[in-house]
């Protein structure tokens, strides 16, 4: 009974959370995304047979399918490890209530089952099992197969929960996990060991002897019990939340010379390095540098029209501004009151954002210069994109930040986190890539690609030289909406 009460609290917390209730647009957007993925999985489940027949003509669809199941679950494990949040913090108010520990753990475990990752295999495997396996192997085989799939899903679910909790207590578990993934991946890659033949062997046998599904059930139960007892022994806040490491302050001597401006920039740097969500944005921006390998295709480089490459370079050298800048002030929403009542003048504050952007863009440009090895053209294209980013993109970014009133919690993870997302972020992203095209296209139509690229670089450079004027303008814009921003940020 208590389980239902606790579940109903969860239900309420989901619907009554501020971010859920507030923006209908985001909910509709998220709903569409979920609907999209669901329909894709269902369609995939229904047409899997046809796909397989096309990709592997002449082979038995079920046999080919069996060869891929273990890949699916391996990928599933990896995905879970990266995406799963541990549902623990919600427990805090219940620990002191008159609720038995066993009930709490049961609640934790049941609660954790409600995730899209557990739903996906149902949509993927059930249609295939009924449509294809049924007619060929008979009813018992279908039952055995589905039992095995479900059990493996549950096994993955609880195993990963266990491993993730362990990684919090001891980070060597993390290292171990990734080492294992690497070793398995390498073995597969080098051909020392074939997942496919193993998977094929296991599931073919399962179809022949459906009672083998029982083994999977045992595995699932074992994973559940293991997780259960682990929690039972460790259900203390400090154990689950994680013990604190010793934190040392750090100082960036280089920034010291810039007085208050330097202090504000150092603050931003620390914000990025010490908080989960901005840190993952920083790492993501690093990964995006490799997108050049996707954007800069040889056939695009050889062509006369370089517009596609230009857009790619704007993306690569400016992605940090896009990612970090869409929440530029909101990152500091938890202490915005203090910043505004404090001594730093708004003008300096705005300027610090410009300098930060310029510094990061310059680093991105330097790292990207290696793409010059692909073609000398890229060096100049990237340089033009860089000037656009430091000259114009920064201005657009800060301007939109002055129109963003939503607070965000920086300690949460970044993936699939839509807190703080509003219409202004969408328009901003649209603007940032539209404007270079608006500058580039007309000029390139008249004077060719290089003229367009030169124009964009020039426009960026000119705007960059006007920076102090821009900062004055944006300071005024900021002051106009300061109270609105403050009020928005206070509402967490």
């Amino acid at each position: 009974m208590i389980l239902f009460t606790l579940m109903s609290h969860q239900w309420k917390s989901f619907w009554r959370s501020r971010s859920a209730g507030k923006s209908l647009a985001i909910q509709i957007f998220l709903g569409f995304i979920i609907l999209y993925f669901l329909s894709v999985t269902i369609a995939l489940g229904f047409y899997l047979e046809e796909f397989i027949k096309k990709a592997f003509p002449g082979q038995d669809a079920v046999k080919v399918f069996c060869g891929f199941i273990l890949y699916y679950f391996a990928f599933d494990i990896l995905l879970r490890f990266l995406l799963r949040d541990l549902p623990t913090v919600a427990l805090q108010p219940y620990l002191v209530q008159n609720i038995r520990r066993k009930q709490l753990i049961r609640f934790l475990n049941v609660r954790s089952l409600f995730t899209a990752l557990n739903l996906a295999p149902l949509f993927l495997f059930v249609p295939f099992a009924i449509r294809v396996i049924g007619p060929q192997y008979g009813q018992p085989a279908v039952t055995g197969f589905l039992v095995a799939i479900l059990s493996l899903t549950i096994f993955n679910h609880f195993t990963i929960l266990f491993v993730k909790r362990k990684t919090i207590l001891n980070s060597w578990w993390m290292v171990g996990f990734f080492a294992m993934v690497t070793v398995v991946g390498l073995c597969e890659y080098l051909g020392t060991f074939s997942f496919r033949s193993l998977s094929s062997a296991v599931f073919s046998r399962l179809l022949a002897m459906p009672w083998l599904g029982g083994v999977a059930i045992v595995a699932a139960v074992a994973a559940f019990v293991n997780n259960y007892y682990f929690l039972y022994r460790n259900l203390y806040l400090e154990d689950i939340v994680g013990r604190d490491k010793r934190r040392e302050g750090s100082e960036y001597a280089f920034l010291n010379r810039f007085g208050v401006l330097g202090e504000l920039i150092a603050l931003d740097v620390k914000l990025m390095l010490r908080n989960k969500r901005p840190r993952s944005i920083l790492i993501m921006s690093g990964f995006f540098l490799f997108y050049g390998l996707l954007f800069y295709k040889p056939n695009l480089i050889a062509r006369q029209g370089l517009g596609n490459l230009l857009l790619g370079s704007v993306f690569i050298t400016g992605i940090f501004i896009v990612n970090y800048g869409q929440y530029l002030f909101a990152w500091q929403s938890s202490h915005f009151d203090g910043l505004m009542a404090g001594r730093a003048p708004v003008h300096t504050y705005i300027k610090s954002k410009f300098v930060l952007y310029t510094a990061v863009c310059t680093i991105a440009l330097l790292l990207c210069s290696f793409y010059g090895l692909l073609s000398w053209k890229l060096i100049f294209i990237q340089l033009a994109a860089y000037f656009y980013n430091i000259g114009l993109h920064t201005v657009i970014s800060v301007y939109f930040a002055t129109r963003s009133y939503k607070a965000i919690d920086i300690s949460r993870k970044a993936a699939f986190n839509y807190q703080g997302l509003g219409a202004s972020q969408w328009i901003y992203a649209l603007f940032v890539f539209l404007i270079p095209m608006i500058i580039y296209l007309p000029v390139s139509l008249i004077g060719g690609s290089w003229a367009g690229i030169f124009m964009l670089g020039l426009a960026g450079l000119a705007s960059f030289l006007l920076r102090d004027w821009w900062i004055d303008v944006l300071t005024k814009q900021f002051l106009k909406r300061k109270y609105q921003i403050l009020e928005g940020f206070r509402e967490k």
Partner: protein, 231 residues
């Protein structure tokens, strides 16, 4: 020092602050008292230009705070955790606020020595970020950061509510000393009538956003306040 002209603020049609006129001179120690919802914190936020007034203006040293930022140079404040930067260590936060107030690291270190006893070893060199400190210690960090800026006006919202008795006494002593040495203007709000009557030279009693009594602290003040708050 502080002039309030006909200031008003309402949220969703409900009056939160409504002060026709108020003058606060340099060196005054003002205590703001009143039950929850009387408008104390909102009044402080108005003073710090953190919320927009529906009408009226506030002048600090004859300059409108919503127009000029000069007041930031001599005003220090601590209202709530919204002033703390959670991902810094306490030292980093002190140096940060110190630097903005043109105080060198050595100045800050010197100042913090006075606080050592209060911090009790669990703030400085604690190896924790501010967000991981206990509520009480976070509060101490906020107050200390406000004091170390060497301000002319200091604004503290319920400074005694979150402090242990020793720290309360110590804070009172420090505020009194700073007031004597530099004619510091102090604004505090509090529910502790004893403390307020002890240190404040003038007490403003708020109710429903209005200042209903403006008392110069004398022998009967405590009694008068107790009379008002009697159940």
């Amino acid at each position: 020092m502080i002039t309030v002209n006909n200031i008003a603020k309402a949220y969703a049609g409900k009056r939160v602050v409504d002060i026709p006129a108020l003058q606060i001179g340099q060196g005054e120690i003002i205590g703001l008292v009143g039950n929850n919802g009387a408008g104390k914190t909102t009044f402080f936020r108005l003073l710090l230009d953190l919320v927009k007034a529906d009408r009226g203006e506030i002048l600090l040293k004859d300059k409108n705070i919503a127009v000029s930022e000069d007041w930031k140079n001599y005003t220090a404040s601590y209202l709530d955790e919204g002033f703390l930067i959670g991902y810094l260590t306490p030292e980093e936060y002190f140096y940060f606020t110190g630097k903005l107030a043109n105080r060198s690291k050595a100045d800050v270190d010197e100042f913090l020595k006075e606080f050592e006893g209060l911090f009790d070893g669990s703030v400085i060199k604690s190896g924790k970020y501010i967000r991981d400190l206990s509520k009480g210690n976070q509060f101490k960090v906020g107050i200390a950061a406000a004091l170390l800026q060497d301000p002319e006006i200091i604004i503290l919202d319920e400074p005694f509510a979150n402090l242990d008795p020793t720290t309360q006494m110590r804070l009172i002593k420090m505020l009194k000393e700073m007031h004597e040495q530099r004619r510091l203007t102090i604004l505090i709000s509090s529910h502790d009538l004893n403390h307020v009557t002890d240190i404040c030279s003038r007490i403003l009693l708020m109710e429903g956003g209005r200042i209903i009594r403006d008392l110069h602290t004398g022998q009967d003040t405590l009694q008068e306040l107790q009379e008002y708050f009697k159940v």
